[in-house]
């Protein structure tokens, strides 16, 4: 690359660099400083407290709960959303017509407000809803959907899967559309038809889509807020207590902004580390199947 091209590149990139510096870099350094203070955002006076906020966070039951709950959500959400979106993408891909219409239709839940859909879900699973009345009358099942530490996260995971399945299906769909017909023809000659073709040809060929969807889905789990905030408030017994709930509660409810920032920093470290591990695992798997 010649020097002129490099300069033009820097010039064109500069608006974004400046934007990032102002809205990300400066706040990041400010947050790093804040995490070592006991400031509550409104008091004119505050002190630096060294590592105290990080130590408190390390021993806090609610922070530990947020850590484990995230992986619990991941265990429920990631397989459901990948299976669901792949299934949806395969259906749309094989539609004879109106693929675009269906793809957009399934994408719509992604645009729905988290608060609105949480309120709808709350209504659907409320004690006196038709669903629960049917379960009680017909089967004798009196289910406490949001009061059970197992069911409450499952409800939230399913709700989020409903929201994201259409979006991720679009990614899989673009992957499916990009598989050359010749690959399928060659597989057919080798006797791979039906389910065998899906398992041995389609799925390995979709590796880039799997990679993207998995990383997006894993990253998403570290940012859950609206659904547990509206549905459960983090309960029962911290079963749906997420990082974002903890940060919000500390910074804006209890006015512990310094401590909340420390938790946010720990959250970002855990997020980066988790995504790094997932990336490495996926890349290793991809490498074994010819995706370098």
């Amino acid at each position: 690359m010649n020097k002129h091209a490099a300069k033009v590149g820097w010039l064109l990139a500069s608006p974004y660099l400046i934007y990032s510096a102002i809205f990300f870099l400066i706040p990041l350094f400010w947050a790093l400083y804040l995490a070592f203070t006991n400031w509550n955002l409104i008091s004119p006076e505050y002190e630096t407290v060294g590592m105290q906020n990080f130590l408190d966070a390390f021993f806090s039951p609610s922070v530990r709960a947020a850590f484990w709950v995230t992986y619990k959500f991941m265990l429920m959400f990631v397989p459901i959303v990948i299976a669901g979106s792949l299934f949806l993408a395969l259906i749309i891909h094989h539609l004879p017509r109106w693929k675009g219409l269906f793809a957009v239709g399934y994408f719509l839940p992604y645009l729905a407000s988290g608060v609105a859909s949480s309120i709808v879900v709350k209504g659907v699973i409320s004690y006196n809803s038709p669903l629960n009345q049917f379960l009680r009358d017909a089967l004798g099942w009196d289910i406490d959907w949001l009061g059970s530490p197992i069911l409450a996260p499952l409800v939230i995971a399913l709700m989020m899967a409903w929201k994201f399945v259409g979006y991720y299906a679009l990614l899989f769909l673009s992957g499916l559309e990009s598989i050359p017909k010749e690959v399928y023809e060659a597989a057919e000659i080798d006797g791979a038809v039906g389910w065998k073709r899906v398992w041995h040809v389609t799925i390995p060929m979709l590796y880039p889509s799997f990679y993207t969807v998995t990383i997006l889905a894993v990253g998403l789990m570290f940012g859950i807020f609206t659904e547990p905030y509206v549905l459960t408030g983090g309960g029962p017994e911290y079963a749906t207590h997420t990082w974002q709930l903890e940060i919000y509660n500390q910074a804006f409810e209890k006015l512990n902004a310094g401590y909340g920032t420390a938790v946010a920093i720990i959250n970002s470290i855990v997020t980066f580390a988790s995504i790094f591990v997932f990336r490495k695992v996926l890349e290793k798997w991809g490498g074994k199947h010819g995706w370098e």
Partner: protein, 441 residues
Amino acid sequence: MKKRKWFKLASLLLAAAVAGTGCQGQTGNEQGQKKEGSTVQIDFWAAPNPTQQAFWKKMADRYMEEHQNVKIKVSPMPESPSSEAGIQSAIAAGNAPVISENISRGFAAQLADSRAIVPLDQFEGFDDLIGKRQMKSTISTWKFADGHQYVLPIYSNAMLFGWRIDILKELGYNAPPKTYSEVMEVGKKLKEKYPNKFLWARADLVKPTWWARWFDFFMIYNAASNGTHFIDGNKLSADRDAGVKTLQFFADLSKNQLVLTKETKDPFESGTSVMSDLGPWTFPYWAEKFPEMKFNEKYVLSMPPVPDGMNPSQAKTFADTKGLVIYASATKEQQQAAFDFVKWVYSDPQNDLEWLKETNLPPARDDLSTNEAFVSYFAQNPQLKPYAENIPNAIPPMDNAKMVELQELIGKEALNPVVKGEKTPEKAWEDMEKAINGVLK
């Protein structure tokens, strides 16, 4: 050489962008403080709902007609994601308004603790304002531990229990129960006749959500303790005997399967439960969604039940109440101008009547149920009268900066485990006391 030129250009752009951002903030800040000639500008943040904004806009317009030297800009307070968080962010960014409404006593305690708001009793004419608005008794419970008044209560919802009188009549009662044993008796008869109905449906009873305690624990505790402060300054001053009785009441409700702790949609309206904590904000919702909910036909209102042996007519309850504060970041001139505006608004009961008509929220006045100005309104809206009558019997939230943590502990250590049957009331109270003292020390 050329490299340096490009570096300079990039640095210049960065500096311009940063300076631009900084200037923007400063301009916003200055806007609130700018004096145009002798005009004082006031930013007034109203609650983020259309009715309250409309009221304050109207008041500001009228005041500005009479006072040409004051310019009041009424705007909704930001909710990102809550109005408290919006105020916090504004203070941190140096963009706080001069005055705002929608402040609870608990949040005011947090603001006062950080010296973000000023004591209102130090303004000239404060006593005059309290006298003119007839709120001496109501505001007495608002005094902070340091002896100052930081919030001027605008409205006060003396929280009441609604009872489905149509169902009570089916059970043979013409009035709601007033004591714990009467409540249990009603519950027993209800279960005999309708095994699938409950006395009270409240999922929050098993959640530690801090603000939920206002509408369950504090309603019952204030009634049982005759309004004894739960926290005084930085000390737990709760009436232990009343507290244990309160928890025992919840334990008995739970043991007899009279409370439903699963999420339920409109349980009181659908008749799934026969009692419910009710604020006056419910009535506009009912008028729209449940027009069949008629006062004295479908439901009646009553103060919280009291322990056996106590006089129910002297019961106290929780006051869901919010008010006005003036921010310390404003100039002295702006603070005084804001206070004068407030004094002008509340010197005429017709303005309180307008507020009541617009918002359905009872003005925090001692004379609300007796003042001639409000008589015809309450005659047309009889369901609001019990709220007006009980304003002097309603206790506002605690004035401690750690209110959120303290109320979370009431749930976690006491109420939630008692309702779940995991602790006895005595053990729960003991654990709660220990945990609260740990936070207060």
